[in-house]
Every structure is written in C-alpha cells, then in structure tokens.
C-alpha cells in the first residue's frame, strides 16, 4: 500500500487532532503515533526495542494464554473505560487458571476521525491499569478503518501468564457436594453501562466493578491451593458461568438467592430495566468452586483482600444428571437459573 510520507517534525496534536488513515498505514505517521503515544504510555524495554514482536523470558511451569476483544459502548463509563476494561478483562481470563499474568499484547482498530485526545486518554488508562497490575504491554498493532466502518475504537488484548506448580483449576472439576463462592456484589458492570446509557440515576452513580483479579486469586490459592474451578462471570453473568461449569463438570447447582450479594441500586435498576442481576455482566468479580471443607477458609481469605470484601458462599454443587442450575428463591420457592435465551444487553464489554 502506497503511503503518504509526512513530515515527522511536528508533534502529534493531542488537543485537536484526530486519527487519520495514515496512522495505520505503516509509514511515518504510524511510527509517530507509536512513538509519541503507545511507547510513551506503556514504556518498557520490549517496546523500546521497536520490533514487530516481543521476546521475553518466563518462569518454569505451565503457560496460560487468553485473548479478549472489547467493543464497549460508550467508551467511557462510570468506574472505567474501554482501556482499563481491555487490560482487566484479559488479565482476569489468564488469572482464572490460577496463573500469574505476565505480559500483554494490544491490538487497536481505530476509526478515521476519532479524536486523538480520547485515544490518549484510553491508552493512558490502559497503561495505568497495566502498571497497577504489574503486567507489561510488550507488543501491539494498530489499524485504521475508514470513517463509518468502526465505532471509535475497538481493542483486542492477549495475555500470557504462568501457573504455579500444584495448581489445577478447570471448569470441569466441580464435584457434587462442592461449594460455590462469589467474590462480591454481582451485576455492577452491566448495570453501570446500561444506566449510564439510559441516563438513569439511583441516588448515587452505579460504577463498573472493572478490576484485575490476579492478586485476589493469589491470596485465594495461598489459603486453598486445591480450588477446583474459577471464572470471572462477564457476559451472561453468574447464571451463565454456573451453567458452563455444570455442563463442563457434568453436575448441577443449587443456589440460595438470599445469599447472593447484589447492591440495592443494582437491583433497583434491574427492576426498572427488566433485567435479572444473575445474567448481568461483571468485570471485577469471580466465582469459585471448592471442596466443602475449604469453603470457610476460602471466604475468609477473600474477605481479607480489598477485592473480595463482600465474598459469600452462595450454594453447592449437586449430582443432577440434567446439569440444571436451580435456586431456592428468597421468596421460598424453587426455580431454574437457565442459560440466557437471546441477548440481554448488547455491547457492554
């Protein structure tokens, strides 16, 4: 592709400038964007080498790799933005194997005309989230699509991490009698996005719970190395994660609705929007399954961590051959918590 070579003399205009097609074309403009924005923000030895890849050392053990694309609308929301979300999302997917996340790669699809000021804000938010998590963004890619062919910015991140020896976590390891634990209130992220979109207010602003959970996972593994299943209930919420575990492990679940932590504002918003918090996305929560004798210790360890203060045991694994997730309702009846039919909320992560 023939590219327009630009003078590299003027620095990028982060106040009034916007993304142009040349920023993804491989020429000087792209080099400038990488140098003045990405390398500046993510600054680390691998990026500074300016290769098309990153070559790094890893500790011995089993490696974990995960990839996640982010298309959230709006790009900025109470509690976070697409930048922090894209870092937390992938770190969490890696962490749910019990791994310590080490490196991230980031791919950007930018729309022509997207304000550079907003891009800078997003990239700096990513850098802040990565730094806080102790994970380096070591390589990446930028593409620009014509105006109208994207929605501002889409970000795909890929992460690698290493699982410490002795840790064996997988969605197919739940056994009848095991206990189910959540790390805190459910539905915060999805409701934050939805109420922001619909301009709903409930006294206080509902904030997304977006957070990197590997620190919490490390604390949990220290207390209970034999955790059987871990997953962050993002799209489809808690209900979907438990149905996935049920199918993978060939078991059923029985939940106690009254034990499941939900913020009052979140349940109020759900009433209004006709949603069920069990199906609403989270970005800073996890569900764990452990042996019954480990449950109390696990909950105590989680509550001692800032991201698990409201952790609670919410139910148990059953031997239901139909792999149903059932729930004792707070009202006193029993119902199923089925797979989601159709789409509850679009474009929330």
């Amino acid at each position: 592709m023939k590219t327009m070579m630009r003078s590299h003399g003027q620095p990028l205009d982060f106040k009034g400038g916007c993304v142009e097609l040349s920023h993804g074309a491989g020429g000087r403009a792209m080099a400038q964007l990488i140098e003045e924005l990405f390398v500046q923000a993510f600054d680390n030895e691998w990026l500074r080498q300016m290769n098309d890849n990153a070559c790094f050392a890893v500790p011995a053990g089993r490696m974990v790799m995960s990839s996640d694309s982010h298309v959230v609308s709006p790009l900025f929301f109470p509690g976070g933005d697409i930048g922090s979300l894209s870092v937390h999302g992938t770190i969490n997917d890696v962490a749910m194997a019990g791994a310590r996340p080490l490196y991230l790669a980031a791919g950007f699809i930018l729309e022509e005309g997207f304000p550079l000021a907003q891009l800078k804000r997003i990239v700096e938010s990513m850098a802040g989230a990565a730094q806080e998590a102790g994970v380096a963004v070591v390589t990446g890619d930028t593409k620009v699509v014509e105006r109208g062919k994207g929605d501002g910015v889409f970000i795909t991140t890929t992460g690698v991490g290493v699982v410490p020896p002795g840790v064996e976590i997988s969605g197919d390891r739940a056994r009848p009698g095991d206990r189910v634990v959540v790390s805190g209130t459910i539905g915060d992220h999805g409701v934050a996005i939805m109420s922001f979109r619909e301009s709903l207010s409930f006294g206080t602003v509902i904030r997304s719970d977006t957070a990197a959970l590997h620190g919490l996972v490390a604390a949990m593994l220290q207390a209970v190395p034999g955790i059987r299943c871990l997953r962050d209930p993002t799209r489809g919420g808690l209900a979907t994660t438990l149905n996935e575990f049920a199918r993978q492990s060939g078991v059923g679940f029985r939940l106690q609705e009254s034990a499941i932590p939900v913020r009052t504002q979140v349940s109020a918003a759900c009433e209004l929007l006709g949603l069920d918090p069990l199906y609403v996305a989270n970005e800073g929560k996890l569900v764990a399954v452990c042996a019954p004798e480990d449950a109390a210790r696990l909950v105590a360890a989680m509550r001692a961590h800032p991201l698990g203060r409201e952790a609670a045991e919410i139910g148990e694994v059953t031997g239901d051959a139909r792999h149903f997730v059932q729930m004792q309702t707070a009202f006193g009846g029993t119902r199923m918590v089925d797979w989601l039919a159709g789409e509850q909320l679009p474009r929330i992560c």
Binding site: P176, G177, G252, S258, T264, S267, A268, E271, E316, V317, T318, G319, D320, A321, R322, F324, Q326, T329, A330, F331, G332, G333, T334, R335, M336, D338, A341, G342
Partner: protein, 378 residues
Amino acid sequence: MKHVDEYRDRSLALVLAEKIARAAHGRRQYKLMEFCGGHTHAISRYGITDLLPKNVDMIHGPGCPVCVLPTGRIDNAIELAAGNPLTLCTYADMLRVPASGRSSLMQAKARGADVRMVYSVADALRLAQEHPGRETVFFAIGFETTAPSTALAIRTAERLQLKNFSVFCNHVRTPPAMAEILRAPQLPGGGVDGVVGPGHVSCVIGSRPYEQVAEKYRRPVVIAGFEPLDVMQTVLMLLRQINQNRHEVENEYTRAVTREGNTKAQELMEEVFELRRSFEWRGLGEIAHSAYRIRPGYGRFDAERRYGIAYRRAADNKACECGAILRGEKAPRDCRVFGTVCTPENPLGACMVSSEGACAAHYSYGRFRETAMAETAV
C-alpha cells in the same frame, strides 16, 4: 429495596401459605387461571407453586400479547415490510414469532426488509419525524395496557400533521377473551373455578368491565398485582370466594387499580379506536368485539387502509399446542415438541417466544419439575 421487598417477604409468604392451605380444605381441586402473562412469569420466577397446596392448580391463561396474535397477522406484517419501501417498527419479541412457511420478521429483516426493534410507539413516531421522506409503520400489538399509548401517538401524528406515519393496529381487549375462556369449560374435569385478573390492563380499564363476566359465568375474579405476595393474597381471596360460593370482582391491587380505571386513557382510546366486529385470536379463534381498529376519522394513520392489508387466516404448525395451552386445556409439558424441537432459541410456537409466554416461562424457570430429581449425591 423499598416498595419492592415488602411484596417479596418470605415470612409473610409463609403466613399466607398457611392461610391458603387452611382455605383449600376438603377433597376438591381448585383450578385458578392467571389470565396475564405477567402473572405467569411471576409465578415461575419466584417459584410460587411450591408454596401452594397440591389441590390448588394454577392454569396459565391467554394474557400474553405476543402469544395470542394469530399467524396470519404476522404474515401480514412480513408482507408489508418486505413488499413496500417502508420502515416497520415493532417490539423485540415480535421479531422472533414464527410465521407461515418457517418465516419470521427477523428473517425478513435479514433478507433486507427494513424492520426495526423499538421500545415503544414513541420511538417509531420519532423515527417518522426524523425521516420525513420515509414511510414508517408501527406494528401495534397488546391489550388495553399499550393501546392508549398507540392512540396518543396517532393523535400526536395528527397534531404534527405527519404524512409518513401509520399504525398496523392489532390491539385486543381483555374482557371478551376472559368471557370466551369462562364460556367454554373445555378443561378436563370442568372449567376454571376462578380468575387471577389482569393488573396492568385493569389500571387502564378499571375493575368494572369484569363484573358482567363474573356475574354471567358465576366465577370470581380477583384483580392482582405482579409481586409474589400479590399473587398469593389473590389466591387466598379466590379460595375464600369459591368456598363461600361467591362470584364477585374483588381488587387485590388497590394500590394501582380502581373500579373506574384511568378515564383519560379510556377517552383517548374511545376517540381514536372503534371496535372490530370480530378478531381472530391464536388458540381462541374468532371473538366478537375483541379488538380495536382505527376510526375512519384517523384513517390516514391506519396502515390497513393505506396499504390495503387483507387478513388471511393461516394454519399453525401441526405439532404446536400453543392453542390448547392458551385456552388453558393443556400445560406446556403436554406438548410433544416442548423443550425438544421448540425452545426459546428456536421457538416453534408463540408461547415459547415472549418471557410472558407460558412455555417460555416454564422452560426457563420450571422445567426441572418435569422429571424426578436425578441426584446421586449430596
């Protein structure tokens, strides 16, 4: 959560359950029909049947607006959207309802028809205002609950002198359908003993229109709210009436419903709509004076006149039992295709589409009851 938790209180539920158990004495079976899909949904979602004695049966009624619209009307909408340069707006659930020849509005949309999902008729009106060069048709469905907002939109369009907005009106009326159900006691072992009456509909029309129905068919009707305690209290009120051989219209939902209803909304409907001589309902067939049509005075907003829509009756899928389920003759579990060929992802019949549909509610919340728990441990 204030104003919600009070109506979902477990200890109050247990007190009511105790009273219901005492009221449901003797060896008789009590068959109560919840008319509204909203009540069906609440009963399934909160597991209310677990708190009722075995001799109280809750039978799902036809009060799901998506479910009762016959296939021919959806065929009409598809032909309208596919055969004309216009934008057809409707509620999300309507897109998935199966039409003739394995078609649906969703498929018509995928093939290029301009079909849009809206949250209310106001969205459709706005679309028409924003695109004056494009014909916009609102595919209106629903009971007296949503009919006033459609009437208001038509009056607003008149005031704004919109030339590109019209409504394919399929609004239906509750009392004639309730009368139809009570008139024909097809249920095995006799008809319905009492009716859990519509809540939202009654906010608009009031409780008075049911008085004639209750008197004529000698069955009690209790208007109910949609919270689980509302439903329990209503069951208790119905059992007491049945035990005392009364057949009155009582109102449990006093915080929202009056005898007269919302007179402004009624006037609005009266101004814009007139009664159709007859209208076909899925499962119930033709029912006289059971639906609204746009008055000739507002005729230019009537898509039926504007596009010459002619209704043709269409046969439903033979395996589908939606008709019998809507009449209360059968339960979802009695349908051979329930949960096998017909699921919320691939609905064969309308009752599996809307979350208020009897089959969808039973599938999503209650199907674990169908077979004995196959638990091996714990």
